[in-house]
Each structure stands twice: as C-alpha cells, then as structure tokens.
Amino acid sequence: MKYVKPDSLYAASVLLAEETGTSRILAGGTDVLVQLRSEMVEPDLIVDLKHLDGLRDITAEAGGFRIGAAVSGAEMGEHTDLCAAWPGVVEGVELIGSTQVQGRCTMVGNLCNGSPAADSVPGMVAANAVARIQGPDGKRDCPVLDIPVGPGKTSLAKGEIITSIFLPARPANASDAYLRFIPRTEMDIAVSSAGVNLELDGAGTVTGARVALGAVAPTVRLVEDAGAALIGSRLDDAAIASMVAAVEAACSPIDDKRGTVEFRTKTAGVLAKRAALIAYERAGGTS
C-alpha cells in the first residue's frame, strides 16, 4: 500500500486516474480505515487530501456556503452562521458516529462512501446542494442528488474528486431539519431517515418544500410528491397526511438486520412528518 500526499488537487486526480490497482481517497478516514481493518478492501494507493488548500475551509459564497471536502463534522457544528442557515444539513452530518468520529469524518466522505443510510445525504439533497468535482480533465459541478447511484457506488468517473459542497443562498423564512431512526440514542446506522427543507412566505405558508429520504432505497430519494403536498399549506393535518402517504409510497427498502421493509416505510413517514414540523418552526412558522 502506498500512502501519498499530492501537491495539488489536479495531481491527486491524475494519480487516481492512472492507478491500475485499488485506490482510496483519504479525508477523515472514518470509512476507509474501517474497511481497511476489516479487510474489506486492500488499497494499493491511498491519497490524502486534507492538507490541500481550501479543502478545510467553510467560505461564504454568493449568499450561501462552500464547504471544503476535508471539513470535519465537528468543524461544521462549530460554524455559527452555517448552523443558523442550514441546521438540518449540519445536524445530519453531526449524527455520523461518535464525538470521536465527528472529529474526523467529512460530509463529502459520507456522500462518496455511498451508503444508502448515509446521514449527511438527505439533508444535502433537500438543500439542493451542489458538489464541485475536480477531475483529470478539469472541474465540473453536479447536484448532490446525482452522485449516489447504488449502494457503495457513485457517479464519479475514475480520477474524479469532490472538492467541496455548495449550499445555496437562503431566502428569509426558510429552514431545514434532519431526523433519523436508530434503535439506540447514538452510534447506530440510520434505519430510516428524512431531510426536509422548507421555504415560507411572510404569512407562514409553505412556498417551497423538498423532502429527501435515506435508508429506504438503494440511494437517497427526493420525493417530489411529498414536497408538493406541503406547498400552499401551513402544515395542517391534511397536508401532512398527504405528505406521509407520498413518502411511504416512495420507499423501497430491504429487510435486514437493522429493520424490516414495513418498519422502514412506516418510520420514514413518521420522521418526515416530524422533520417537517421542526423545519417549519425553525423557519418561523407557527402552527
């Protein structure tokens, strides 16, 4: 195994593109090292990016935020403005692992590991986050929604590296929330999860809604019908019931050691409802 710290992102992407064996990008390492230790993967090449310029920065940009790929969950949680603008995105990232894991894990690593249950992803998708990608042929942007393509798989080409995530500018009266179901209070992989992002008008009516689900399908699900069900409402019971029905209809989970199809579907609806109510209150809505 070769451990390398390249001089630039471009150099890193070329190294990765040219590696004929197995390679892994190392940011926080909280997935890669677990896979190494349990002998699930034996990389020939590990590329450490944390030292590269900009990757550990959170910068205000165009009214929104650009979060570097090596920013840890703990650092995101300490950024007051980011937490105020996107509490749902931050709380999703902050639920990954333990305090110790938080000291290292990254949003981008969580996304690229490709687990259908990844905690950072529903919040990012609900936020309409965009990933900036560096490849051997240059840079491109891609919605986070289009990154996961299956369990453990992303749409990234060989040599492509996500270098940052962009969260767009927020209108007034907007907020988000993320909830997951786990059997304990911490330390579990999400059995089901929901990220809800709401925009309200001055009177507390929903004008924009995005509902994204985790752990109930091979990849994150953006449920457009669920968002649509909330638009024009003040989160009354009928709108919520309609949203929950849309959420349940969008689930296609599996039975496994963490949950059953029935359980995941049911709780996804419950979590979407509760997340919507939290996001609504954060956005200034009063029900």
Partner: protein
C-alpha cells in the same frame, strides 16, 4: 511493502518511528512507541477505547493512519497526569469508583477531558451524548457520569 517513517509529537515529546503503511496511529502508539494506555476494543471506531487527542481534536486512534500523525500533536492518557499530580478527572474517577475493570477508562478520561476543555459546565445529557462513543460494559455509566460532573465542578471552582 515499503515502510513509513513518521516524526511526530506525543504528549509534548518529539518522537519518531517506522511502521508499515497500513498501521494505524493506535498500532504505532502501542507497538512502536510502547504507549499501551490506548486500547483496541474493536478496531472500527465503535467503542472509543483508543481515544486520543489529535491536533486538539478528540479522535479514535484506530481510525487514523500512523502516517497521518506526521508533524501532528498527539495527546494520550499517558500525558494526562503532570508527573505525580493526577488530573482532577483521574483522581475523582478513583475516588468515586468510576471504573471497575478499567479497560475503557483511558479512553473515557481522554474524552471527558476534551469535553471539559470545550464546555466546563456540561449538563448530564451533554455528558452522556459526548461520551456515547465510549463503551463501558462494567459500570452502567452511572458513576462515570457522576465523576465527570464532580470533576467539572471542582475545575470550575479552581
């Protein structure tokens, strides 16, 4: 496989070691530097027994490659006492019987110290959630939480 040479600082002392590239910081501390205070309970970041402080952050040393410690500041349980003087957390853990077998104790002490440095007056809930990544199978956590609260109170009044 070519070995890696690492220069780093552990508990304030400059150290160097050679290791295989796949070795973790935990492996290096225990097998290359003779610092066996950090323990391997799981190797997958689920138990916290390997907790150390890396560049001011509480981390699981089993989730850090030894090579990543190059140029870093590492603090382990062995650096918590100041010569003969125990840190209040260490002393109060003994006084309040907050350990039984003691295998999780180094990790919990390192984690609790990091908490109190960030938040000198944590609530019981905050302590429990901060320590959720430190498994203890002997105590049921009760006396551990109480010891952290007592240490926090003492350190606040110092």
């Amino acid at each position: 496989m070519k070995n890696t040479h690492v220069t780093t600082t552990v508990n304030g002392d400059a150290v160097e070691f050679i290791c295989e590239p796949e070795e973790t910081l935990l492996d290096a501390l225990r097998n290359r530097l003779g610092l066996t205070g950090a323990k391997e309970g799981c190797g997958t970041g689920d138990c916290g027994a390997c907790s150390v402080n890396l560049n001011g952050r509480l981390v699981c040393s089993c989730l850090v490659l030894a090579a990543e410690a190059e140029g870093a500041q590492v603090e382990t349980i062995e650096g918590m006492a100041d010569g003969e003087a125990l840190h209040p957390l260490q002393r109060i853990f003994i006084e309040k019987a907050a350990l039984q077998c003691g295998i999780c104790t180094p990790g919990i002490l390192v984690a609790a110290k990091a908490l109190l440095e960030k938040n000198p007056d944590p609530s019981e809930t905050e302590i429990r959630y901060w320590l959720a990544g430190n498994l203890c199978r002997c105590t049921g956590y009760d006396k551990i939480i109480k010891a952290v609260q007592a240490a926090a109170a003492e350190m606040r009044s110092a």
